[in-house]
Point group: C2
Chain length 196, copies 2
């Protein structure tokens, strides 16, 4: 309450990671996508980047810290997308901006986004992570508007699941980022009956 910072909303503050920490996180993300979070051991991560388990523990105190660091790769960008959308004047414009930003993010970081929304361990983990929960509440409010009827709820649920699921779907494996991005946007706007 004493500093100027206290006035600004709480944000994610991803620690700035060393080069080795970043390698650990990237290795973890690949393995999480392949074997699931719970099926990925610290030994597997250590082998991938060519060090021992103990070296990993020097960089992160627990496995949970690695999971969180992996999630934060995307969480900061999701929060930024919600910020940008909320700054728009009209609701429908905010919705359009948010959908476009979410799709950009999902296409750019296909694996991470899918892990966040689909891996059972990651989902449980994030449910207890307050900053994440707050961002998701803002995101859903933007997608649904204030009066959340059944159709709005189902549409928002379908959209987020569709984006996260589609980007790693076998059917779109051969599409380049730009093609995938544009088709996803096109179809997402159709789902929400927004102008294309």
């Amino acid at each position: 309450m004493s500093s100027a910072e206290a006035a600004s909303p709480i944000r994610f503050r991803p620690a700035s990671y060393s080069a080795t920490q970043s390698r650990t996180i990237e290795a973890a993300l690949v393995l999480f996508a392949e074997h699931g979070v719970s099926g990925t051991s610290l030994q597997m991560i250590a082998n991938t980047i060519g060090v021992t388990k103990a070296a990993i523990y020097h960089q992160f105190k627990t496995k949970d810290e690695i999971i969180l660091a992996a999630a934060e790769v995307v969480l900061t960008r999701m929060e930024a997308a919600v910020d940008t959308a909320e700054a728009e004047k009209s609701r429908s414009r905010a919705r359009e901006v948010l959908i476009a930003e979410l799709i950009d993010l999902a296409v750019e970081r296909r694996r991470v986004v899918s892990i966040l929304q689909r891996d059972p361990v990651m989902v449980r983990f994030l449910e207890k992570h307050e900053p994440f929960v707050r961002v998701m509440e803002r995101l859903y409010r933007l997608l649904m508007g204030d009066h959340a009827g059944a159709e709005a709820r189902v549409a928002a649920a379908m959209l987020t699941a569709a984006i996260a699921g589609a980007v790693i779907h076998p059917l779109v494996l051969n599409l380049d980022d730009e093609a995938l991005r544009s088709e996803l946007l096109h179809l997402a706007l159709r789902l929400f009956q927004l102008p294309d």
Copy 2:
């Protein structure tokens, strides 16, 4: 090649399970949804139904057999849905029927369908399960038609992900089955530009 059966297409043949086996499968499904497949131990399953691990091993030789049995709960119904759709005369009618059947199934067995499509271990498992792969190929062909352009691929990927993801989404937790079913169908048809 010698019997009459050889002429009919290969189908799933879920073994008929004893009452205790069925209890094991149902308990496994609940735990898989909560902790993920890899995060669910035989001990947890045994505790849930009130027996010891050894008793579980009497019913199923390995954990993989339990995973398969759990998957088959839904796989047989998916195959039946594809059969029904393929019997339709027109392509668009086949697509409508398939989408409606898939949504019915997903709403009825929300947890199972989501596990099948989202759990990393289950996904890897089913990729190597030939009968499943074959059914999915037929399903995608029905959804996309023969000329699989980028839009058709992305639309099919979004639809399957959206259905599986939406039915267990926190936003729709309070919707009863009938409301969820009807909204899902309505929005799925809009995504595919089919008559409602």
